[in-house]
Symmetry: C2
Subunit: 231 residues, 2 copies
Amino acid sequence: MATTLKALPVSIIAHVLAVAGAVLVLVWCIHFRGGLAWEATNKSLIFNIHPVLMLIGFIILGGEAIMSYRGLPFKKETKKLIHLVLHGTALILGIIGIYTAFKFHNESNIANLYSLHSWIGLGVIIVYALQWIYGFVVFFYPGGAPWFRGESLPWHVLVGIIVFILAVLTAALGFLEKLTFLENSGLAKYGSEAFLVNFTAIVTVLFGVFVILAAMSRPIQVEDEYSYSSI
Amino acid sequence: MATTLKALPVSIIAHVLAVAGAVLVLVWCIHFRGGLAWEATNKSLIFNIHPVLMLIGFIILGGEAIMSYRGLPFKKETKKLIHLVLHGTALILGIIGIYTAFKFHNESNIANLYSLHSWIGLGVIIVYALQWIYGFVVFFYPGGAPWFRGESLPWHVLVGIIVFILAVLTAALGFLEKLTFLENSGLAKYGSEAFLVNFTAIVTVLFGVFVILAAMSRPIQVEDEYSYSSI
């Protein structure tokens, strides 16, 4: 399959979906939901940080980090640095985003960690963090022996792709859960906000699909130096 | 990646998860939700057919259909027949399962097709049906020219895996949506039914992960005859 898709067009579609998703989630949280705030008497403004950070910070930056290996025309060492910095930033923003959900719940007397969204999300962020630490130690500093890197890389790619798919699944669950709460509180099921949230979720899922396609595509290369063992 | 995983152990874990998921969804719909019925004054019994058919009929049979190509020690023509019959059965049970959701909504005066679950689910069943028809015509009867089968196969596999992932995502959305409705109507958030539904969803997601791993694993073969072009 890897040979039938070229990284560049697939990555471009993914970037366009990333921009669309970022704009949609900002329009939702700022225009429809009243904006973002770290401290507020209207606790919903604290919650609003959560979808913005999880989509733009965690999913989109994480997806760009995955694609950077295939879609950028740089040398391997440069791409590796971009890959780990983007994933590290995504992880930090993801942790802050999760913290805001707990902060919102605690300040609003809402129960924590009862929903499927929270359960899978917590699993995702833990595995993501372990995967980042493992990748840093084995592939960057101090770095494992070449044979060990070669053995580790397919698993690093596989776990990374599975965790990314589960992150996108968690985001879709989050959009559905929040919209269901809003609809139970009277929001119109066929209204513009409901459609906006559903479209944001669909754009997020499509972004996930194109990131996976990009990860399976033929990489853009400066030299023809790509192999598992040389990483 | 394909060479690092063996189909047999991965498939066995997937089968165990399939049995666990099937038992859990039946315990939920029969023990906790009062059972299944095609016609009933208690319309909830009509709804209950939906998760049972979508999980056991659509997702589990569909997953087994995907794995049958890698995990069974038969000749290619036998595996192809098993693959298309299982997928065809999954498709029919999936369509009946979706019909029961509409039937429940219509008889209970609940709006149709406003949620993310329904939108993505409808997309999944349509692509699944098109994929099945394409597979039947190109790979089974009347069958395309060898070069065309060779060109089509990687796309058939790719689209099949993406649609299966989206089907699992739709199932997770469905479990979360239904449980959120029930919790909004008073079901305990940390009660045994809520935990059962969340665990069923997690088992479903894990089944999806192991089906994908099985699809990426080294196939069990009678002869060493596996190649794209020979299918």
